[in-house]
Symmetry: C2
Amino acid sequence: MIEADIFKALADPTRRKVFEKLAGGSLNASALRDGLEISQPAMSQHLAVLRAAGLVREQRQGRFVNYEVDPDGIATIGTWLARYRAYWPKRVEALADLLKDMDQ
Amino acid sequence: MIEADIFKALADPTRRKVFEKLAGGSLNASALRDGLEISQPAMSQHLAVLRAAGLVREQRQGRFVNYEVDPDGIATIGTWLARYRAYWPKRVEALADLLKDMDQ
DNA sequence: GCAACACATAAGCATACACTTATGTGTCGC
DNA sequence: GCGACACATAAGTGTATGCTTATGTGTTGC
């Protein structure tokens, strides 16, 4: 069950901050530490959790490792959330429009 | 930060099962225990966590307490997920359509 | 009132988890 | 090759969390 890994990964506030940083584009592990008061090993462990959950994927570039949002994780949350569309309130109707033009 | 409570609540597999049961309609605490091998106090504690997170709301009916999905929690996840619409893969495009006609 | 019921809360305990320090692996530039 | 760098992994530790048993609160029916 990969949903378990996803929600567990997002349960940690630091990992959510990291993930939300990546929403703006790919960054390497050191850049992700900026602003967050966290040790290098701690960040490495958090990134491992996010990657294991399928929320993030990595790309080695020399001695740097670039991380970016993995669409697979997003898709899993999206399809999970779709089960509850009957309970979606009207005020979030705009969200559906946003989702519609995701590929430009 | 209510997002913290939401993701923490959904990180537990039992609570996700409970929440997914409620996707089909409201149920009382005893009915929610059916199928899940869980004690009465454990269920009560899980429901308290889900309610504190805004994922579930209760409605007393005599000595029963009916629980149902709280649209507020769903909306919070939805708006959070909207930040990542750039990474939404094409294959989940259908989800957007589902969200569009949520109010019939 | 009182017994049975539906659920909530309290207290204690075992495990999971996020951190730390220390060390390992791989790359770059000289 | 070798030192500096970017990151990963190992091992240990304090705290959070989900469970248990026991008890409390409120409702129903007699």
